[in-house]
């Protein structure tokens, strides 16, 4: 499975590289550092703020204001606690407690559109919407036991942000993003849930000739 994951990631990167380079002829390539926080039922599994995240995105302008996008990201969530977890079986109930660590590694690979306001080479607010898949690795460590599940989930991600000219054909990027991966497959928890998280993105974007 790990080999399959790696091959998929490599394929995605190759595709991304091509798409981004194409976009770079008539668009923007951006690299952002992302800080995220889980929302909804995902926050019941891992609630701590994620300080480990990165995303690379290529935007290919079809018109002055509209661009096609392709992005690849990686966000790491982790949390440790001593929570007591309720268990439910067919003919019994129970609880389990102990030091536990929960992880979610999310690798969204998405394509979509962005709509920019304003004119080229100026401060430009934008909105975007992407869809694709989010490869989720969910792990739960407790005591001497470790449970891990990984799967591709259908995902969407609306985004709103602004690019600010910074000279040398480059821009500062600040954006807010919501990633939503729809539940499917196996989970390490008894309950299945959508993986959802909000991100603050800060980074740079550059045009051809940077």
């Amino acid at each position: 499975m790990k080999r399959f994951t790696l091959l998929t990631a490599l394929f995605a990167v190759f595709f991304l590289g091509t798409a981004v380079e194409t976009a770079a002829q008539n668009g923007l390539t951006s690299l952002t550092y992302n800080v995220s926080s889980a929302t909804g039922d995902m926050a019941k599994f891992v609630d701590d703020t994620s300080w480990l995240g990165v995303q690379i995105k290529g935007s290919y302008f079809k018109t002055e204001n509209m661009a096609l996008t392709f992005s690849f990201g990686w966000q790491v969530f982790d949390e440790s606690n001593h929570d007591t977890i309720a268990l439910s079986f067919d003919q019994a109930d129970g609880d389990v407690s102990g030091f536990q660590t929960r992880y979610v590694n999310a690798f969204p690979v998405l394509a979509g559109v962005q709509y920019f306001l304003g004119e080229s080479r100026a401060l430009r607010p934008y909105v975007g919407l992407e869809a694709g898949f989010n490869y989720i690795i969910q792990r739960f460590d407790m005591g001497l036991w470790s449970l891990k599940e990984q799967r591709f989930l259908v995902a969407v991600a609306p985004e709103i942000g602004v690019i600010v000219p910074a000279g040398f054909n480059s821009y500062l990027v600040v954006a807010g993003r919501y990633d939503h991966a729809f539940k499917a497959g196996s989970y390490v928890t008894q309950e299945k849930f959508d993986f959802t998280y909000m991100s603050l993105k800060v980074g740079i974007a550059w045009e051809p000739g940077f």
Binding site: V20, V76, Y103
Partner: protein
Amino acid sequence: MHFLKKGRFQLFALLLTASLAMSACYPSSGGLSVEDLDVVATVYDPEVDFSNYRTFAMPDSVVHLLPDDADPDDDNISRSFDELILREVAQGLTDLGYVRVLEPDPDNPPDLYAFVSISTTQWAGYVGYPWWGGWGWYGGYPPGWGPGWGPGYPWYGGGVVYSYETGTLFVDLVDPERQDAPTREIGTTWIGALNGLLENSSAGTATRLNTGIRQMYEQSAYLKAGS
């Protein structure tokens, strides 16, 4: 001049993302103490109303659970902590309001029997040294070597062998009124289990046993005896 030429960008992106994707990140793993590996699990029959119980009795020894084919002489589980375990299990039930019956009468049995048992498991593993597999891009260096070659440890056999021993303490609360004669089974109403890594420190083990047994009762609020 482009900052990143096409080929360079793809190579950069490929290497960057491949390095990210090759191993997911688990930043909180590591740095754990032996106590951090202790887990307490409790399971109960939800149809049982524990407020109907008031008394309990328990044997004065801890049962050592051995594999079916094991020779009893092979029992090497320490009895150093039996007294402490039995005392803590009984104290916990007393704190929940149960009255201990020291000499149970078969004609008038206590409401519950508490049975305490222990099992241990030896685990062993081996970590090899995947020289060429892990450093594939060094293929051909030094000259004459290649995939399939690797450093040898003729004095040791290669790699690192590790082993550890885990133990689980079980506490069963059994209702003698719920026995099933045909199957010769007595109905268990509650099971508490403490699982962890065994260690050599007596003080550490005693503290962990105390904490773990108390946690069994703490996370079982429904266990309170009737008045």
